[in-house]
């Protein structure tokens, strides 16, 4: 009996030991797996920009890529300083807003990480139009590359190089409007409304977009570009900041009443609460400042569109977007950093319109 109980005990200890070792091995294996996953990210850092980076048709993938860029550039700065490449070769569908957001994300990430990306010929876009557009907007400066040589000739687009600032800079904005005024006729009202809309957008960013107590002049900025598409007969102005976004700024607003109103609204509205808050802010005079003569911001965005014959305003912040006057509300799984505003208006040759495309001098001869 004694022998068998001792054998039993030994057997039980052996089982426990095996169990313990198995557990220990499993933990070690899992740890190794985790390290392997991390190592994989470090050894394969290339970011591949997909063929379609239009917000309208491919929001989720594009925003995921933007987040990847921020993560990868920041991660490489901390863990590994070997060269990083961003592959543009597949890009075939871009818009002025997607180029602006991509360029500003790359710029901000580099500045935060304190590194400079370098260009790589094998990763350039194969699509000639995309190459041309990125050239025109001066995108390659973010890779320390001067303009690419291209034989592609076109007179379809006119682009304005990206403007940026950490302050409200009406001189920069005003000069951009004057540049377009040479090609597009604005009557005084339309010009004033456009100027006001762009200035209020930058004022909103400076005042509410970033953490005011700790502003980083290099990265806490706004970016702006504009373009004419003669074939489509449209002119677009695109404004973007990479701040906290409209909803977070409402959530953390100094004014407790604003905070309370925002929280109540987001709890009460069950379906697409953020998009509906954007819709509400555009249709009401006061946004955050329900005080004396404040809160023109959001209202001024749509005043310019109302003046145009066939205008469209698109506002996207964090996980929501709203389109005016279509009244289209959308919410997404992936959140964009900050706020994007696009004014797109139809232009025609009718000089009686508030906004019209001026003909080439040759057309008049």
């Amino acid at each position: 009996m004694k022998k068998s109980s001792r054998a039993n005990q030994k057997y039980r200890i052996k089982l426990l030991l095996e169990k313990y070792l198995r557990r220990k091995n499993r933990i070690a294996l899992n740890k190794r797996k985790k390290i392997l996953v991390k190592t994989k990210k470090i050894t394969n850092p290339n970011i591949i920009i997909p063929n379609d980076i239009s917000f309208a048709t491919n929001w989720e993938s594009f925003v995921e890529i933007l987040n990847d860029i921020q993560y990868t550039i920041g991660h490489r700065f901390i863990k590994n300083r070997s060269p990083l490449s961003i592959d543009h070769s597949l890009m075939s569908k871009v818009t002025p807003s997607s180029i602006l957001v991509l360029a500003s994300t790359i710029e901000k990430s580099q500045k935060l990480a304190g590194i400079k990306l370098k260009g790589n010929k094998s990763y350039l876009p194969q699509n000639e139009t995309v190459r041309y557009l990125l050239n025109e907007i001066d995108y390659w400066k973010y890779f320390n590359v001067s303009k690419l040589k291209t034989n592609f000739m076109q007179n379809r687009f006119t682009f304005f190089k990206i403007l940026d600032s950490y302050q409200v800079d009406n001189t920069k904005i005003g000069k951009m409007i004057e540049f377009f005024e040479k090609q597009v006729g604005f009557n005084n009202d339309a010009k004033s409304l456009l100027n006001t809309a762009l200035c209020e957008a930058s004022a909103n960013t400076v005042e509410h977009g970033y953490n005011n107590s700790n502003i980083n002049k290099d990265t806490d900025r706004w970016w702006l570009t504009a373009s004419i598409d003669k074939q489509e007969g449209t002119i677009s102005f695109v404004f973007y900041d990479q701040g906290m976004g409209i909803f977070k700024s409402l959530e953390h607003h100094k004014n407790s009443q604003v905070k309370k109103l925002y929280n109540r609204a987001s709890n009460l509205i069950k379906d697409k609460p953020h998009a509906k808050i954007l819709q509400h802010m555009l249709s009401n005079n006061a946004s955050k400042h329900n005080t004396i003569n404040r809160g023109y911001g959001m209202q001024t965005f749509k005043n310019f569109i109302d003046k145009a014959d066939n205008g469209l305003l698109f506002i996207a912040s964090e996980n929501a977007s709203y389109e005016y006057p279509k009244d289209s509300l959308k919410e997404y799984s992936n959140s964009l950093s900050g706020t994007l505003i696009v004014w797109k208006i139809q232009v025609n040759h009718d000089i009686n319109s508030n906004i019209y495309l001026k003909g080439d001098e040759n057309d008049l001869l």
């Binding site: 409200v168 009406n170 005084n188 006001t196 200035c199 003569n293 023109y296």
Partner: protein, 105 residues
């Protein structure tokens, strides 16, 4: 009365509401140009011809607090504001001032 050419002496591109937000703000114009006038025996004739455009924030911050502090009558008697490009500019500014006074009272 002092003649003041806004484009030459201040800017062609008026800026934001507050000094802390950027250059050529309404607050800067109010404190550096308009307040000294209201505190003196002088008056001012502001010619804004050539300005790209005035935003509501600039107009409101530059003029409204002074109308409230010094009284609308004194304000109107001392400040002239016009532009050959926008005949309604003075009316526009006064509408912001009146709205400000209305909300304040």
């Amino acid at each position: 009365m002092t003649y003041y050419n806004f484009v030459k002496e201040f800017t062609k591109y008026p800026g934001p509401r507050f000094i802390r937000l950027g250059k050529h703000s309404g607050e800067e114009f109010r404190e550096n140009i308009l307040r000294p006038i209201l505190e003196s025996d002088n008056s001012i004739d502001i010619d804004a011809t050539g300005v790209l455009s005035f935003g509501p924030s600039f107009l409101d911050e530059a003029f409204s607090p002074l109308a409230s502090e010094y009284g609308i009558e004194l304000f109107k008697s001392k400040i002239k504001f016009h532009s050959d490009d926008d005949k309604m500019l003075y009316q526009k500014m006064i509408s912001y001032v009146e709205r400000y006074l209305e909300k304040k009272n």
